[in-house]
């Protein structure tokens, strides 16, 4: 049975609909991300689950129990806030113990559980410190320990890594995943950072304009985006408007003056949006080239190269792994090649 079930969850602020009939279920032990740009309703959804906002409609079920009349303090959820929200006047130990104290856990058991949780987040040596005396990453771990120590049925993470610098963020992603799996806690993460969502989650729910757009594993969401928005939001993508034509020998895509072999799948003919991931495009010789172009920009990123190539299909983004070989220079004429199976045909309405 699902730990968390959202059914047609809706939130209106006056005229604006922040969350629109949002439905999602989270299984026990799962790590699910709500991913979307700012203002897509993901934070409002989290606030409703936490009990800080009242839904305008729909239901929230936690372990089959309706949360509508349960106040935030009785929901028993572990929440990690974007700002960490540590209590500045309490030591690490007191911060972590606060939830247990509220639950009237006896002092000796409290000590044991605090020690155990601090051990889990590798902070045992700092239990006497005050939050101000700690680094961002350490505070993050305290916040996590404070939420985990009450053994919540569900852990809510509200953009937990957004206040950390890039290098620390990558480290904490791995840490967060390890801690979540060791504690075996069902987790719902809210984030606008697609790489964070992909690195951490079992499942991603992409939101846009208060609605659920796609719910899939990170790999599927990246590889088979539901629409143009998902394909451009998750990683980099080339979006090429075109026209799909069916035929006995397979589909044809007509984009500007070019005609390409389309994917074999039975999409309905008509105007479409074609999504092509930049890392699936290769440089090749003139004979095999699907389209010719000229490199207009080249950026070196260490482990890879990023090219912008002017072609008959418009400007295409190409990403090549840095293999140590010579790569085309700016202004050089190149030929591009890709396997037809890497083309994703999306309906044209979702072109925005």
């Amino acid at each position: 049975m699902a730990i968390l079930e959202l059914r047609d969850l809706t939130k209106r602020f006056g005229e604006t609909v922040a969350v629109d009939r949002f439905t999602l279920s989270v299984e026990k032990g799962e790590f699910v991300s709500l991913l979307g740009p700012s203002g897509c309703g993901k934070t409002t959804t989290l606030q409703m689950i936490a009990g800080f906002e009242t839904p305008s409609g729909g239901t929230i079920l936690l372990n089959g129990r309706d949360l509508a009349k349960v106040p935030a303090r009785a929901r028993g959820l572990g929440i990690v806030f974007q700002t960490y929200a540590l209590f500045p006047h309490m030591t690490v130990e007191e911060n972590v113990g606060f939830g247990l104290e509220m639950r009237k856990v006896p002092a000796d058991e409290r000590r044991r559980r605090i020690a155990q949780t601090l051990d889990l987040v590798h902070l045992s040596h700092l239990s006497g410190r005050y939050p101000r005396q700690m680094s961002g990453g350490q505070r993050q771990r305290v916040a996590l320990a404070r939420a985990l120590v009450i053994e919540p049925e569900l852990l809510l993470l509200d953009e937990p890594l957004s206040n950390l610098d890039a290098k620390l963020r990558e480290e904490m992603q791995l840490e967060l995943r390890r801690i979540q799996q060791e504690a075996g806690v069902t987790t719902l993460l809210v984030t606008h950072d697609q790489s964070e969502a992909m690195a951490l989650s079992d499942r991603i729910a992409v939101m846009q304009g208060g609605r659920l757009i796609q719910e899939a594993s990170p790999f599927d969401a990246y590889d088979r985006p539901a629409n143009g928005f998902v394909s451009s939001f998750l990683g980099k993508s080339n979006a090429i408007p075109g026209h799909l034509e069916g035929g006995a020998a397979g589909t044809k895509l007509r984009c500007r003056e070019l005609t390409l072999d389309g994917p074999a799948s039975g999409e309905t003919p008509g105007p479409v949006l074609i999504s092509l991931r930049p890392e699936r495009i290769e440089f090749t010789g003139e004979a095999e080239g699907i389209v010719a172009g000229r490199v207009s920009e080249r950026i070196f990123l260490g482990d890879k190269w990023l090219f912008k190539v002017e072609t008959g299909l418009g400007e295409l983004l190409v990403v090549r792994r840095n293999s140590g070989r010579r790569e085309p220079e700016v202004g050089e004429a190149v030929h591009l090649f890709w396997q037809a199976e890497h083309l994703r045909v999306l309906s044209a309405e979702s072109a925005e």
Binding site: R73, F81, A85, F98, Q133, I150
Partner: protein, 283 residues
């Protein structure tokens, strides 16, 4: 060039302080060591006679005791009223919040004499409060409120609460509102959140507000002069009487210096205590 410029820039303020504050203060201190007799006036002698007079007379102990008791009670009441009010204001709708700030600052916009005479009209034996109570047959004889320490405290609280609110307000604005939500999510009810999360974070504000309110109340003159009169004397009104009625300037100066030193000592000790208590928590 670089060496003199900061001095030149701060010269106007320095001159003002030297002429208007330091000079009279030094002259008062010197005056306090002089002696006085009714026939010869002030004599330029140097001795600790005035201090000995003050410190050996239980009359002055009573005055100083009353002064600090009034200041202390005023401070405590101002903290009890000001802290919750600052918290409520923080959570108000922005429009009502700006209205409330105006209401809070109201007493400061009115001249102290006008405001205190207003209290005299309310508190007098034939004042508004007693008249109203008599009309409703709730009392037979008027409740004495004028010329009591209680009346002085009441009027002082009225003008001191804004200082407390502003100090607590400043401290509360520095707190992360998510800490309250965090406590709530961990199972704390509204009262526990206030007591365990909000109040400790407001503490530096309460303590600095107390410092301001205490020192202003201990040295207040107009309010105790009008509401206390000759019967309920405090240190500042005693100094005034010594200077202008008894004409014993040296004794008045000695009392003034003792008040200054006592208030300073209390403030420094208080500050030490606060810094020690909250070191590490609030940088």
């Amino acid at each position: 060039m670089i060496g003199t410029r900061p001095w030149l820039l701060s010269a106007p303020a320095l001159v003002l302080f030297l002429v208007m504050l330091v000079t009279p203060l030094i002259m008062t201190a010197v005056l306090s060591f002089n002696s006085f007799d009714f026939y010869g006036g002030i004599k330029p002698t140097f001795g600790l006679g005035n201090y000995a007079d003050v410190l050996s007379d239980s009359y002055f102990y009573e005055i100083f005791g009353r002064t600090f008791m009034i200041a202390l009670v005023t401070t405590v009441i101002a903290a009890l009223i000001g802290t919750p009010q600052a918290y409520f204001m923080l959570r108000m709708h922005p429009f009502w919040r700006s209205v409330m700030i105006l209401v809070v600052l109201g007493p400061l916009l009115i001249s102290v004499v006008v405001r205190t005479l207003g209290w005299a009209i309310l508190l007098g034996n034939n004042g508004v409060i007693n008249e109203a109570l008599r009309r409703f047959d709730m009392i037979e004889r008027p409740i004495k409120m004028m010329y009591t320490s209680g009346g002085i405290v009441l009027a002082l609280v009225h003008v001191m609460v804004p200082f407390m609110i502003l100090a607590v307000w400043a401290a509360l604005q520095r707190q992360d509102p998510a800490t309250e939500k965090a406590a709530e999510s961990l199972g704390a009810g509204p009262f526990t959140v206030f007591r365990r999360i909000v109040l400790p974070q407001a503490m530096p504000g309460i303590l600095s507000g107390s410092l301001i309110v205490f020192s202003l109340s201990a040295s207040a003159f107009a309010t105790p002069a009008i509401l206390g009169g000759r019967r309920v004397k405090v240190a500042s009104t005693t100094v005034y009487d010594e200077f202008l009625n008894t004409l014993n300037w040296p004794l008045g100066a000695a009392i003034a210096i003792i008040l200054l030193v006592a208030v300073l000592a209390i403030m420094v000790a208080w500050n030490r205590l606060v810094e020690k208590r909250f070191a590490g928590v609030f940088q």
